[in-house]
């Protein structure tokens, strides 16, 4: 804090405030010199609070968007969806009786240009009542009846601009989808119910129901999802009325097997993803706050060091240790408030900025809003962090002796603070950790994060102790520079602990992000596994399987074709307990949330291994049996002999669990959670799914040729090129990584600030050393060399730890949370190590440079 004060102050009040108010008064007087010395403190708290407030506000804006736009996102007050079949007349009548109904169908299909180029499209076919809520925007704008009208033998559609770009077409161009001719009449700018269906692999094509039927793709068992959305009568319809209507419809059609959503849970999957994403960001935000906490601790220590004389003076004038603590604690909390305010403002503004800058490209309904509870929580985090990291050094201030005034600085004693302060620190840290865990989406992950953070703290403390011990025990070198560097590392009051902690935390996070990032990229964007298929073929009709097999074998004789029957089915009961009444573990919950692909077969599927029970014999004809993936079975709490009821094609089928399998999902082959004995579905109308794998990996040219030939010969079969699908997922992953990188960036800025602050804290000592050594004949170059060596040694030791800790954290995240294989990336690790050394040396020397510039005489006079 600058101590120059330019003008006399006004007269204070004539009365003396009592107790805690007196501490506050003294604290305020102490801050008159300005906040200059607290830049790092304030910036650390501001960045940490901004990260937390920003993440929370963004999440709240998304939740708000989801809630407010529920019926628009859903496309109605309630939606009933069926897969592979349309609603029966009776079902339609039941629904239509409740309000205005709109029918929509979604499916994947291949579109072909006249010259044979193909592109996968996500079709949405709608009826005349669409949309019940919201509006479709097209470019050029046109009413939907005009857009969809059949003209000159072609049905009009609106498509994503991406399709035009991919096929190099303009509006007005014609395509074929199945056996229908399609005219691209407009670009689809927005569709109100875009988010309800999840993320697709291809560009959207919005067409009429008539056009869909004209394609010939609507066949029994085709993978088409039919939505029946209802708008209930009346201006204001309560959620209770919607729920009551759903209950009536379910009671009237108990065997419909439809999936029902109300506007209150328009897109649970999206909500879940938003929550999960928010949690990861929150963890990164908490790391920023944690790193900031180290800055707080350093700043408080440096501040108290500067104020030793004042503290001793207070004591010599009758202030107790508790009073001294109260004065400086009040100061720290006031500074925390000062730092939190810009953090809260920026954090609250973040959703507005994101919506303004990226609203058009983020596939999420952001409704920016100020969420007071979230901001209050972020504020609380900021105050708790400041308290958690300041209590320890403040506790030490309690015991700064007044005799310091007579004897000069006694040096930084490393005593523990009194018991009360240790207990208070533990309580505040526990509160902080408890809050982080309690408020998280997945408490297990949050607890792991808290434990990991604690481990990293302890680890860095040990690294600092080890480095100091090694420096102290190292043989005394003859080179003055090296000797000075080693002495600086281990002398009492050395910067080693604070530099190692500040740099180490930032580095650990950086390594984690880089390794996770690199692994995801490797997984989604680099080479596919050798055995990965080149294509998936969907909707191969039962009647054309033999012709399809022959065609593919003829066109791609060297490739391996794997084809299995494919239905969609939803688990509706386990051992006669309804799915909605089950309490599955987190790893299995997704299986119950929607319909899943199911198959049947005589043989154990490739990539599967039986771990319990027996596979059924060929030509088995007994009660229906099912094979279940092992982890899902564990999550659902079922085993061999238990009964699963699945609704497929509108009827409920109950099968006994005959065996459990492990599945290698990463092979990208055809794998199913549920595989039934063939007698379960034989004769039911369904389609097949197939994969085609080229030995020795992918080959762009022959893939594209086959794609064209297949589209010509089998217009109804949807071909998904695996590389395209992976790229679509990869794009999504890239966006997620961008979000995480943004939050991590804040943490890194905080880490740099903290490191800079930690290095600056040693400035006074540096000036002293430099002046004494210069007096004794040391040149600047020699001093810089010694300091650079010291910083490089610290940077290196910390980098080694950061790489170890960060890689371990990344390995846990990739293998345990993302369930992917982890590959350590040595190149990026080496780069981080190098970067750490460079940053430490540069930041260190920046501070030292001015120390070297001091003329010896004035400093010596004031020593």
């Amino acid at each position: 804090m600058s101590q120059s004060v330019s003008a006399p102050s006004p007269a204070p009040a004539a009365t003396t405030p009592p107790g805690s108010r007196l501490s506050l008064t003294f604290a305020l007087r102490e801050m008159r010199g300005g906040l200059g010395g607290f830049f790092v403190f304030i910036a650390c708290i501001a960045l940490g609070v901004m990260a937390i407030a920003g993440v929370n506000s963004f999440a709240a804006s998304l939740a708000n968007g989801l809630a407010r736009e529920g019926r628009v996102i859903l496309g109605g007050d309630a939606a009933f969806s069926l897969i592979q079949r349309e609603a029966t007349e009776a079902e339609r009548a039941t629904l239509a009786a409740e309000g205005q109904m709109s029918v929509a169908a979604t499916l994947r299909a291949v579109s072909r240009t006249a010259d044979g180029r193909t592109a996968l499209v996500e079709i949405k076919a709608v009826d005349g009542a669409y949309p019940l809520y919201g509006a479709v925007a097209t470019e050029p704008a046109m009413p939907l009846p005009d857009l969809f009208a059949q003209r000159d033998g072609a049905y009009g559609v609106a498509v994503d601009a991406a399709l035009l770009a991919r096929l190099d077409l303009k509006t007005g161009a014609r395509l074929t989808v199945g056996s229908a001719t399609i005219e691209l009449r407009a670009v689809l700018a927005s569709e109100p119910d875009k988010y309800a269906g999840g993320i697709g692999f291809g560009p959207r094509m919005l067409m009429s129901e008539a056009a869909l039927r004209a394609t010939g793709l609507v066949q029994p068992g085709s993978l088409i999802r039919w939505y029946y959305r209802l708008k209930l009568p009346g201006e204001t319809v309560s959620d209770a009325a919607v729920d009551a209507m759903i209950a009536r419809a379910n009671a009237a059609q108990p065997d419909a097997g439809w999936e029902v959503r109300s506007r209150a849970n328009a897109s649970p999957q999206l909500e879940r993803n938003v929550e999960r994403f928010t949690q990861y960001l929150t963890m990164v935000g908490l790391t920023a706050l944690l790193v900031g906490g180290v800055g707080v601790a350093n700043a408080v220590r440096a501040h108290l060091d500067r104020r030793r004389d004042v503290i001793a003076t207070f004591k010599s004038l009758g202030a107790s240790g508790s009073r001294v603590f109260a004065i400086y604690f009040a100061q720290v909390m006031m500074l925390a408030v000062v730092g939190s305010i810009p953090g809260l403002i920026l954090g609250a503004a973040l959703p507005y900025l994101i919506a303004y800058a990226f609203g058009a490209i983020i596939p999420l309904p952001i409704a920016p809003s100020i969420s007071a509870p979230d901001l209050a929580l972020s504020f609380l985090y900021g105050l708790l962090t400041a308290a958690a990291f300041a209590l320890w050094p403040l506790g030490r201030a309690h015991d700064i002796p007044a005799s310091a005034l007579f004897r000069g600085a006694l040096g930084g004693e490393q005593r523990f603070p009194r018991c009360g302060y240790i207990v208070a620190t533990v309580i505040v840290v526990a509160l902080l950790a408890g809050l982080a865990i309690l408020l998280s989406y997945d408490r297990r992950i949050a607890a792991v994060f808290v434990a990991a953070a604690a481990l990293v703290f302890v680890g860095l403390r040990l690294v600092a102790m080890l480095v100091m011990w090694l420096a102290a025990k190292a043989p005394h070198p003859r080179a003055t520079g090296l000797r000075l560097a080693l002495a600086n590392i281990h002398r009492p009051g050395a910067l080693t602990p604070s530099v190692v902690l500040s740099l180490g935390l930032g580095l650990s996070l950086l390594v984690t992000v880089i390794q996770v990032d690199g692994n995801l990229r490797k997984q989604f964007m680099d080479s596919l596994p050798d055995k990965a298929p080149a294509f998936y073929f969907l909707d191969i009709r039962n009647t054309e399987t033999e012709r399809f097999d022959a065609f593919v074998r003829d066109q791609a004789p060297q490739a391996n074709l794997d084809r299995v029957p494919m239905l969609r089915g939803r688990i509706v009961a386990v051992n006669d307990i309804r799915a909605e009444d089950l309490k599955p573990a987190a790893q299995a919950a997704w299986v119950l949330q929607s319909d899943r692909g199911i198959t049947y077969g005589d043989d154990i599927p490739q990539g599967s291994r039986i771990v319990a029970g027996e596979w059924w014999p060929k030509d088995y004809a007994g009660e229906p049996l099912v094979s279940l993936e092992q982890r899902i079975a564990e999550g659902l709490g079922v085993g061999i002999g238990d009964r699963l009821t699945v609704n497929a094609l509108g009827r409920n089928v109950t099968a006994r669990i005959a065996n459990l399998r492990t599945v290698d999902w990463q092979s990208l082959g055809i794998n199913f959670v549920l595989v039934f004995s063939p007698n379960t579905f034989r004769g039911a109308p369904h389609t097949h799914i197939a994969t085609l794998t080229y030995p020795g990996g992918e080959s762009g040219d022959r893939e594209m040729t086959l794609l064209r030939q297949l589209a010509d010969a089998f217009p109804n079969i949807t071909t998904v090129r695996v590389r395209d699908a992976i790229e679509a997922v990869g794009e999504l992953v890239t966006n997620l990584i961008l979000g995480i990188r943004g939050a991590s960036g804040i943490t890194l800025v905080a880490a740099m600030l903290v490191l800079g602050g930690a290095l600056a804290a040693g400035h006074r000592q540096r000036v002293y050393d430099a002046v004494i050594l210069k007096t004794l004949g040391a040149t600047r170059a020699r001093l810089i060399g010694a300091y650079a060596l010291e910083y490089a040694m610290l940077g290196f030791a910390t980098a080694v730890f950061g790489i170890l800790a960060g890689s371990a954290a990344a390995a846990v995240i990739v293998t345990q949370i993302m369930k992917l294989e982890f590959a350590w990336l040595p190149g990026s690790a080496a780069l981080v190590a190098l970067g750490a050394i460079v940053v430490t040396v540069v930041l260190g020397l920046l501070g030292t440079w001015s120390a070297l510039g001091h003329k010896p005489a004035p400093v010596l006079r004031n020593l």
Partner: protein
Amino acid sequence: MTNPSGALPAGDAAIALSGLNLSLGRGAARVHILKDVNLEIGRGEAVGLVGPSGSGKSTLLMVMAGLERADTGTVRVAGEDLTRLDEDALARFRGRHIGIVFQSFHLIPTMTALENVAVPLELAGHADAFDRAAKELALVGLGERQHHYPTQLSGGEQQRVALARALAPNPAILIADEPTGNLDEATGRQIVDLMFAGHRERGTTLVLVTHDPALAARCGRTVRLRSGQVEAGAPAAAPAGTARATALA
């Protein structure tokens, strides 16, 4: 001006030290600073502590002010056995009974002259802290500079503020550690005059450490320390009318 809140019990010595030993540092670096010091200072007495550097003068002063604890021996100051008081009780004791003037002034740089003087009064809970502080400042001739910060004051003015601060609670004992050490001769003389005026007018017991023989000579008695011990045969020129003033060593 008569005392005051910090009045001593009648007939008791202001300061009584006996069998005092104190060592500082640890292990091989431990230094035995005060060795079997016995000293009694009467109420209202002015005592100069003199001796070469490192003889233990400042340490002895700190023990008297309750800023340093003796390893052995008894320390009775203003009727209170300081060895029995904990850290906080010692702080409160200082606030009530002891005023300290430092060589380096030790004003709080972020507070005005008035606020600096008011601090001990505020800490002691006086409701009229600022009125009393203003009067004290006027007494040291700084009535017009109350609202100036230490950096806006000269060295002599700063020491006058420090003296006003030390005297503001009307302490029974005023201790000063080389109060003129950082001042030029003329300014130093002003400060000393003010200090002795306070001692005289308020009956405050004055103990000061100095290297200046002239200043030591103004004290009623001089106690000489050498290697942590009170030198035998130190002149005991206690002014008439004060209580016993004996160097017991």
